[in-house]
Subunit: 141 residues, 2 copies
């Protein structure tokens, strides 16, 4: 069972790379792809998605590329998961109508949802900013 897919992985890495740029500096998809060893075309699609979700901004033409739109600390991993893996949720619903009559106050459902919200909440504590800090701290030590 994997909690994070490649989409999310690559997105996070791209965002981390962008987060280490100087103010108003842009980095091309090609560059990001090479630095992070991420398939170029795949990365491009991911970046498009990140634009749609207002996480990054692009500049077209030569010397163009991408940069962050939001502060690193305000970009939560949970948000990225949401974008690429959809909301964490019980697939449809175990124990369909048959077993579980009054769906609304089904205890299992509640418990699953509680677990899901714990996961979401934990992933929201991790941000691009905090990761970047951790990574640079590590390089130093």
């Amino acid at each position: 069972m994997k909690l994070l897919t490649k989409n999310t992985d690559y997105a996070v890495r791209a965002l981390l790379t962008l987060a280490s740029l100087k103010k108003d500096e842009y980095l091309s998809a090609r560059q990001i792809s090479q630095r992070q060893k991420v398939p170029y075309q795949y990365l491009r699609r991911i970046l498009q998605e990140l634009i749609k979700k207002n996480l990054v901004i692009s500049r077209e033409g030569g010397g163009g590329g991408f940069r962050l739109k939001k502060r690193p600390n305000s970009i939560e991993i949970s948000g990225i998961i949401n974008i690429f893996q959809g909301r964490i949720q019980l697939s449809d619903c175990m124990f369909r109508k048959k077993l579980c009559h009054n769906r609304s106050n089904c205890v299992l459902r509640n418990q699953i949802q509680r677990i899901e919200s714990i996961v979401a909440s934990e992933f929201s504590k991790i941000t691009i900013g905090s990761l970047l800090k951790d990574l640079t701290k590590q390089k130093g030590g």
Copy 2:
């Protein structure tokens, strides 16, 4: 993003059905399949797996079928997830060697693992026994 797959879903439902049997009573895969509206052949494979993992016992031949091997309260959902979805884990490892030099004390890795263990721990609080109790309680109310 789904936390539970059909495998797990069906397994849990089968186990719940078996948990409601009388002591030493056996129920056939066909019966379980019909009661729970689960595809027969698929369910059979799942039951085979549950046998291997020592969760159920079978009796061959006419009038045969399956029954639980363990007490319902000792069958944790986390265990079932493990069987059918594998251990919860960070796919391979985001930020391969390149980004993350000393893998052993990588902070992100630690955080992910912490989240994973929370999930596992929460799912281990839910058991076939507790679900059965919840379900019967609900029918009553």
